[in-house]
Subunit: 198 residues, 2 copies
DNA sequence: CTTGTTTTATGATTTAAGTCATAAAACGCA
DNA sequence: TGCGTTTTATGACTTAAATCATAAAACAAG
């Protein structure tokens, strides 16, 4: 999103997070702007009996956790490394300075937030009013442009586990497994040795 | 958000929408920036069997429908007047020009989008992993700062119908009615001649 | 290789919320 | 001030998805 050069010019430092390491926690106040150099980060919540909900998954060059940073409010979810990741971290005050001095960046931030709001609108409607199969298919279709699914001879490889799909759509693993099977039977997607293609 | 003066300087015109009139429809491409002068607008979706989901409700001085405007993507939901409303409408190209020539406005847009993303994150987690009572209470609590609930001697008056609460939380009216009764019994809120107070 | 963990899979059972039916109270407007 | 509509309300019942149990396949680590 923002070039590494520019971030470093304002004092950003690169930090390493190993798999399952926490970048920030729900309920804490934001201190930094975060932009992924490499790896994969998920934002998630747990309810009282330990059930996970994944707000989103982010990949290289993407930023995350800005809304509370701008509003100076507590994080509504935690950020956790899904795999080993490198992240550029820039102190809030320096990030704000960067924004002020580089108005063109604002437009990029706006487009990024707009994209995420769009995704959330689509998924909110899905989760509230559609059955499992519809929800799963919508996540996958939206994900083709939103997440980094790679295309090969069989179509787009949906590189999520059934559990992740469940945590992104508010469904249980078993329900996702059954929905995916049903969708395969209907010809909406393919399962090639347990991997899902669309 | 943006002063009426500035919007008008760039050619915005004030339009009147009567109750239930549509401002824009799901699936259409955006053409204008919209900012409410007076009244109340809801953004909603309908699923295949006519069930409604309300994405959000907006009041005077708030804007809505920007994400697709910035991304040049189809609206993921429709916008409908809940009551008679006046809206300032500014053509996309002129709005973009306004933004370019007034960098300070960008920050306001960012804060606004951040606020909405925050609301969506909170509600997504609620809808996916919490029971009806929790969902209703969270909507109400978040709504106290987000929607324009007025405080009086009995507390904040939640001026939503049970149906609207259902459409905002993905629950059916009957479930909302039962959840609200249960919450009253637990002392979490008050019902004074059918009106809900918190 | 072996072993422990994660992921996918399937069947049986339970349950919370949706659905259906019905009605009274409140509201709106002609 | 009367009448149609909307909103709130409650009880009975149905059902879709969650839960529970179990296991095989795949993967990861030592």
């Amino acid at each position: 999103m923002i070039t590494a050069d520019l971030l470093e010019k304002y004092g950003a430092s690169k930090k390493f997070y190993e798999k399952t390491a926490t970048v920030f926690e729900e309920g804490k106040l934001p201190t930094h702007y975060y932009q992924i150099v490499s790896g994969e980060i998920k934002m998630n919540n747990y309810n009282d009996d330990g059930r996970e909900f994944i707000q989103g998954i982010f990949y290289k060059e993407q930023s995350f956790g800005e809304p509370p940073l701008f509003l100076n409010q507590k994080y509504p979810a935690s950020a956790v490394a899904v795999e080993e990741s490198q992240i550029l971290c820039l102190l809030r005050s320096n990030f704000m300075k960067l924004l002020e001095e580089n108005p063109a960046i604002s437009i990029k931030i706006i487009e990024n937030l707009a994209q995420r709001l769009y995704y959330k609108s689509v998924m909110a409607a899905e989760i509230s009013t559609h059955e499992p199969e519809h929800r799963v298919l919508k996540l996958i279709d939206h994900g083709i442009s939103y997440f980094n699914f790679k295309k090969d001879a069989n179509g787009f490889l949906i590189n999520f586990t059934r559990q992740q799909i469940g945590d992104l759509t508010g469904l249980r693993v078993e329900t996702v497994i059954r929905a995916i099977k049903a969708l395969e039977k209907k010809g909406e997607l393919k399962i090639i040795n347990r991997k899902v293609y669309r």
